[in-house]
Amino acid sequence: MPTHAQTPAEGRVVLDAGDISRALIRISHEILERNKGAEDLLLLGLHTRGVPLARRLAANIAQVEGATVATGELDVTMYRDDLRSNPTRAPHRTQVPGGVDGKTVVLVDDVLYSGRTIRAALDALSDLGRPAVVRLAVLVDRGHRELPIRADHVGKNLPTARSERVSLRLVETDGEDEVRIA
Amino acid sequence: MTASILIKAATLPDGTTSDVLVRDGAIAELGTVTAKAERTIDADGLRLLPGLVDLHTHLREPGREDAETVLTGSRAAAVGGYTAVLAMANTNPVTDTAEAAERVYDLGRAAGLVDVQPVGAVTKGLAGEELAELGLMARSRARVRVFSDDGKCVHDARVMRRALEYVKAFGGVVSQHSQDPSLAGPTACCHEGELSGRLGLPGWPGVAEEVVVARDVMLARHTGSRVHVAHVSTAGSVEVIRWAKAQGIDVTAEVTPHHLLLTTDLLAGYDPTFKVNPPLRPEEDVRALREALADGTIDAVATDHAPHARHDKEHAFVDAAFGMLGLETALPVVTTVMVEDGLLDWAGVARVMSANPARIAGLDAVHGRPIAVGEPANLTLVDPAAKAVVDRDASVSLSRNNPWHDRLLTGRVVATLLRGTPTVLEGALA
């Protein structure tokens, strides 16, 4: 299990556990609506917090639709455009059950910001195969895009100033569910 | 006639203070000198020694003039306080004929900075098989007395025996590079031990030297001849030499400055600056060598000055050339290692760096003489307390393979006189 840093709790709460849960339920419904069911769906969580979010979405979908949705993990370390300016770190697991060819891939991430991580994820996906469709689901969109990337499903739009820090904490990684702005 | 020189208030090897007047190439007066001279050297606090004599130098000419020439080597020798050096025979072509020996001798005279005494090869082409023309070399203008295949060992016992016998006719001596080639071959480059095992470097076990030393002293006894052991490097060799001398066997021995201080640990970074033959040894051997030099088991310090062009050292360690510079740093190293630690006094330094080597080389009519009226003025003036960090780029040698770079050493040659003519003044070439 790759280690991750726990996000410290600071700033004011903008989403509590209840808000997060409701947002995830709504996103699960939206995914099913867009896809007209659960067929050929593949949820891929982006490390780190996208992974538990993808699992929660899969659990919700299983409850609503009664179908198990393929869920995996995608590591984009190798595809980042800022590789050269940081010390190297070991990549996380990439696990894609059933492959991506012909699938409706829904990338799942916690916070959408500059869009560079998603750009890297798209490059990683294209080296894994040829999905039929790629969509993006995020819990929080905080604006300030630097690339032409947009999310299909958004839990909460949170306009922020660049100087502000958005800390997203989840039970699976940080012990509790909440989103704060500092 | 050379100008007269007055050396004022020098401390002699025996510790007494004296003025020394040098005139017409000889020592004219001692004690308190009132006479005037054309040049005066203030030697207050400085130590006057007989001119140093090096039994073992590589001048590289003919053949490798890119590494050193007789002229540049003579400069380095003079700066180091030497008035005579023995130039080893492993040049290209090898000094194994009278003509070759005279050529080196003439180059030395032309340079005029130090008496260059050619060493003759023991065997033709250093091949270790047939004796070279030892007698003709002895009769030549070069008056060769010391013979050596240095670089290589005369490893065939029969050839060594013949050489030892043959040189008796003209008072010659064989200087043996002791290295049994079947125990330490041409790739052997690191003292065989824990470090060589860990580093994966071909080992050069001390026993490869000791078996040859042991054999040669027995051959010297058997033939009634004398033998000289070049660059002794192990405690075991010291034990053998000590025993042999106690038996009355006519054996003499030399040690290099680097073997008195540098140890095999320096090879840990694979720096070819420290690659030398015989290799640097562990601390125990270094200590045994110092004691042996102090108690007379080892008779002389000899530099084994081995200049190399930069590219010959800039190879992988195993492929790099063997050897280190030594002429300019010998006196400071001996001062730092032996005198400062009280193992040798200055009379001892005069003995091991001048009188003994002169005697072994057969140059003692002119070099290594006592400082007395009438003696030839081959003199070295030393500042025994001066401390300096060695800078390899300040050397007057053509080469830069200097293991002492950046090291603080005590002792500095201030002046060198060759038959009354100053070759070095104020620490630099005159």
């Binding site: 590591d75 190798m78 595809y79 590789l83 050269r84 300016s85 940081n86 010390p87 190297t88 770190r89 070991a90 990549p91 996380h92 697991r93 990439t94 490059d123 294209s126 080296d127 894994l128 195969g129 | 065989e192 031990g193 824990e194 470090l195 060589s196 095992g197 860990r198 580093l199 994966g200 470097l201 080992g203 076990p205 970074g269 694979y270 720096d271 070819p272 930069r310 590219h311 010959d312 050292k313 800039e314 190879h315 992988a316 360690f317 195993v318 492929d319």
Partner: protein
Amino acid sequence: MTRHLLTIDDLTADDIGQIFTTAAEMHDVQNRQVKKLPALRGRTVINLFFEDSTRTRSSFEIAGKWLSADVINLSAKGSSASKGESLRDTVLTVTAMGIDGLVVRHAASGAAEQISRWIDVPVINAGDGTHEHPTQALLDGYTLTRRLGSLEGRHVAIVGDLTHSRVFRSNVKSLTKLGAQVTAVAPPTLMPAGVGAWSKAAGFATAYDLDEVLPQADAVMMLRVQRERMSGGFFPTPREYTVGYGLTRDRLALLKPGTPILHPGPMNRGLEISADAADALDSVVLDQVSAGVAVRMSVLYHLLAGEETQ
């Protein structure tokens, strides 16, 4: 992580763990249709091999290419001593065009370390004389870890010509770093000089009797023995060597069932492997070729992809 990989000493146990983790991910890449990661795109890596080796060199070449690096193979055979061009001159000429990484194999111990002092580029030692072969040891450690899990407390026997083996020197370091108990087995003439002091300081054991060591071993590493060592007087005849130190059918039976056996290859039948055991062995000796590429991808990635931390 370290700038150069010259010896296993350059890596901490944590570094090794990271390299293994990354290697596992890299291993997966080999099963994809697009066998490429862009991590070293635009970087130029030169394989400078002064000593022949098809296996190691092609392993590094594939590893670099699957990371999208531009890989150039240069064979600089023939000791540079021949032409008045020094090793330093050769290396400076090669790196003068501005490269990002140098993988070096040389017949002289210490060559990689010396080269790293002359140039301003990360250097990876692909084998220097009898000194070290760090990526081989990482590959061996990675293979054993996948088979056995943690190597803490595991007993590994390394058997053969220790004196002339860089695989031994690197492995004894990496395995002890990972917590394994290493016993080095060889006849006295093939034990490195000073091994007594070295083994005590480094924490590994030595033994002359292979049959006593094998029953306790959790893994066995057989080293290649060259027939030329016979002419150096290291052992009398191949058959005597095999009887004393070779992996024979009888010795296979001494091992605990399922004990992994490693051999850096290629095997010398009739020397360190008896002829009759060789066939039984083919199915037991672990295939390390694809793992070798993955480990080398991991090393290249960690040393060349990011910003230097030193």
